[in-house]
């Protein structure tokens, strides 16, 4: 997720195609000017010809021919190819439905025509997922598709939404010229949250923001979404039930018109798209959202839980249902309204929790068949998987902890005091209970899983379970003693 700073500097200079001051680089990449200077120095030292030239008063510029020589001599520079294609895709999407001259692409990205044509092929494949088409002519290239899909693609590509999980990271990917637009979009998100007295957790916050930002950028090009949405009757019903959310969307679009200096009604239909989006995000403390699919969400949640439990041979605590249910409800709305929610953590989720993800995905496939829902994409599966993974991990962890009982004469006095301390200082211990020394025999009989007894008073027990006598206040010395015993128990386990 974090590119090496040297690469970031090169990419930034490549993208902006002119002299960039040290100040702008430092702000854009969020590092100090000294760091920039250091890295540029080391980049240039690596090669016989300097890649980055600096001019007093103007800043730094990439020396393209030297850079190309260096790049071509590296046989497979995959990351720079990917980045170049992202930049090309971004340019094409921004311009859509207008075309971009080949001449411009070749010059600004500094590639030859054969490389360009190859890039076009890759891009063409990639944009299929958004139902977009790449039309390539001799002198120009363009991307076509409906505005909704163009915007979805823009959100993911331009803002690198798949790789960031917070809005400030996105700022890095927008040049200084766009910072004003960025700040405006951010201010609208903040206003909405304040007025609606709610909070938008990841991923909804970043998507809401991106939605507004992309809307702004497209509006500047006089591109608007399909106006027929205002006639949608089911949407009208939702609007009547959620007047506050609709008002906020109206305010946002009205603010945008003022910001852009628009006087007419071109942007008015955007209010409905914004409203649809907000409706399907989960507002944590706002009860005004009424979605019809609560029963369905209930059934789907139960289905997920039962299937995943079966696949993983693990039973989940009943509290998981409440957590997943709300998410499923929002997901069903998104599926029905065809709103996509990119998941920046998807790659990590698949890597860290492969079994849980596979189980969740199997359940998702069956669920969309059983409940007649659209196909559930991996992004959504990833989010649900996270809930299961959290409980699955805790379940497994608990099995590995050492089960202990804390003893004193009453079972509530010193044992109560030290058990909090033990919990905080030695997480490998799970305190199953507190007891009085009168009850030890009973407890050991009823709970054979106990592996350790920690007592503040000498006890009359002669058995296999280790007993540690500690002071009434569990001092550092006591802590060390108990840690040693814990270590021994864990070691013995691995030999068992």
């Amino acid at each position: 997720m974090h590119k090496e700073i040297s690469q970031e500097i090169i990419d930034y200079l490549k993208l902006h195609n002119k002299f960039i001051t040290s100040e702008e680089l430092s702000n854009g990449l969020n590092v100090s000017k000294k760091t920039i200077a250091r890295h540029i120095n080391s980049i240039n030292k690596k090669y016989s010809q300097p890649i980055i030239v600096s001019q007093r008063g103007r800043g730094y510029e990439l020396n393209y021919s030297n850079y190309l020589n260096m790049a071509n001599s590296n046989v497979h520079n995959d990351s720079s190819t990917q980045l170049r294609q992202e930049n090309m895709l971004a340019k094409l999407l921004f311009a859509s439905p207008n075309d971009v001259k080949i001449y411009d692409l070749v010059n600004s990205l500094y590639i030859s025509e054969p490389v360009l044509r190859n890039d076009e092929k890759q891009i063409s494949k990639r944009i299929c997922k958004w139902n977009l088409k790449l039309e390539s002519k001799q002198r120009s290239v363009k991307i076509t598709g409906n505005e909704k899909d163009i915007r979805s693609a823009l959100m993911e590509v331009v803002l690198h939404i798949n790789k960031s999980t917070d809005i400030e990271t996105l700022r890095k990917n927008t040049s200084q010229l766009d910072q004003k637009d960025f700040n405006f979009a951010l201010s609208q998100v903040e206003m909405a949250l304040r007025v609606l007295n709610g909070s938008l957790p990841y991923p909804y916050n970043i998507n809401f923001f991106a939605h507004i930002y992309v809307l702004l950028i497209r509006a500047k090009k006089f591109k608007a979404m399909d106006k027929s949405i205002s006639l949608d009757t089911s949407l009208q019903t939702e609007i009547k039930m959620n007047p506050e959310i609709f008002s906020i969307c109206k305010s946002i679009v009205s603010n945008m018109k003022k910001y852009l200096g628009f006087k007419g009604e071109e942007l008015d239909s955007e209010v409905y798209y914004l409203f649809k989006y907000l409706l399907t995000s989960r507002f944590n403390s706002f009860d005004g959202i009424v979605l019809d699919d609560r029963d369905l969400a209930d059934q789907v949640t139960d289905f997920f839980i039962s299937k995943v439990s079966a696949y993983l041979h693990c039973s989940f605590s009943p509290s998981i249902k409440d957590e997943i249910k709300n998410h499923v409800l929002a997901m069903i709305s998104r599926l029905k309204m065809k709103i996509s929610l990119p998941n920046a953590l998807l790659k990590d989720i698949k890597l860290e929790y492969p079994q849980v993800f596979t189980a969740t995905k199997k359940a998702a496939t069956l669920a969309s068949q059983k409940f007649n829902l659209p196909v559930i994409p991996d992004d959504e599966t990833g989010f649900i998987c996270l809930y299961f993974a959290k409980y699955y991990e805790e379940n497994n962890k608990s099995n590995k902890k050492i089960k202990a009982y804390v003893i004193c004469t009453t079972g509530i006095g010193t044992s109560g005091i030290i058990s909090t301390k033990i919990k905080n200082s030695i997480p490998e211990i799970e305190i199953v209970g507190l007891a009085s020394n009168y009850n030890i025999e009973n407890i050991i009989k009823n709970k054979p899983e106990i592996e350790l007894l920690i007592s503040t008073v000498p006890i009359n027990y002669h058995g296999k379970i280790p007993v540690e006598l500690v002071s009434a206040f569990f001092t550092k010395k006591d802590e060390q003693k108990v840690r040693n015993v814990v270590r021994n128990i864990i070691n013995e386990r691995s030999f068992a």
Binding site: T410, I412, T414, G416, T420, V457
Partner: protein, 145 residues
């Protein structure tokens, strides 16, 4: 409810025996048991293991056979108790005496309340505040928070 659970008394003693005698008088009268019973319980527990913690605070126990809601008797002594040392070598001057039945019903509401109060003593900040308190009633306020 809390008024019943926490009793306080300011005292001025210099040895453990005198402190225990005061506890015996109060508890025996309140619980309607003999002074001998109370004293025996206090001493036995103290002999089993020292109940002094740190910063001058000790938690002696009185454990009785009958069935009742546990409560705390808080004593603050003006002078340090010379023959009673804490784990950090400070002298005891604050006694938080637990008066509990032998059989503890942890699920019981009033038991839970007492347990909550006792658990506060695991918190270093609470201990520091108790150490600074100048009277037993002040300590009661700290524990009731």
């Amino acid at each position: 409810m809390n008024e019943v659970l926490l009793k306080s008394c300011d005292i001025d003693v210099t040895d453990q025996k005198a402190a225990f005698q005061i506890i015996v008088d109060i508890v025996a009268s309140k619980m309607d048991v003999s002074k001998v019973t109370v004293l025996r319980s206090l001493s036995t527990r103290e002999k089993t293991a020292n109940t002094a913690l740190i910063k001058g605070i000790a938690i002696p126990h009185v454990i009785l056979e009958s069935d009742f809601t546990p409560w705390l008797l808080i004593l603050k002594s003006k002078t340090l108790i010379a023959d009673w040392d804490c784990l950090d070598d400070s002298k005891v001057n604050t006694l938080i005496c637990l008066v509990v039945p032998k059989i503890i019903k942890k699920a019981n509401k009033s038991f839970k309340k007492i347990i909550q109060i006792i658990d506060k003593l695991a918190n270093d900040n609470v201990i520091a505040e108790i150490n600074k308190a100048e009277s037993a009633t002040e300590i009661v306020q700290i524990l009731k928070r």
